[in-house]
Symmetry: C2
């Protein structure tokens, strides 16, 4: 991932409502959530939420698809993967010695990270 897109993604996530929405969409994979449902869930006006969704979409982190009258948004996990890869490269690539303890302490799904 190039720096420019990484900055877009970081900025998109650096806002309370957007981070909440994004987390909800990741958790809702692969089904997705309608924009209106998100607006209700987080008590945000529809137009404000629309603007936030637009920022997330512009960063490539989510994608909307019309489903009848409503529009279902889904998280783009591939983009998340690229973003995390970019950030890890900054640390590990820039300073390999820091990589070991860094990855060791990441507690997420260690058994899947090491498919023996």
């Amino acid at each position: 991932m190039e720096k420019k897109r990484a900055i877009l993604a970081l900025a998109a996530l650096a806002q309370t409502t957007r981070l909440d929405v994004f987390r909800a969409l990741v958790a809702a994979e692969p089904t997705g959530v309608a924009a209106g449902d998100l607006a209700r869930r987080f008590a945000v006006p529809a137009n404000t939420l629309s603007a936030h969704l637009n920022v997330l979409a512009h960063a490539g982190l989510v994608k909307g698809e019309r489903k009848g009258r409503s529009i279902t948004y889904r998280a783009e996990l591939a983009q998340v993967r690229l973003l995390l890869g970019f950030m890890l490269k900054d640390c590990c690539g820039g300073n390999p010695d820091a990589c070991g303890p860094l990855l060791d302490q990441i507690v997420c799904c260690p058994e899947k990270a090491c498919p023996s």
Copy 2:
């Protein structure tokens, strides 16, 4: 890492100069770099860089220590670790099925991630 601090960190990194500086400091671990050297390297006025360093420090991503008349800044790898953990938790914790392919494709130091 709590959400508030994660947002601070994401916002701190979502800016070209700050991301550049942060990357340089990660690469310069554990020695660190003086503020003035960073200003020269990235051709940014001292006061502007000082403001950026302040944002990074407030987010806990870097830390400055006086060394004589200059101030040496260092990256806080522990905080980076927390931030990456937070982001991974959003994906893996929120949707464990997405975790496997996500971590599999992270190319950083795979041999260290899986210390057989």
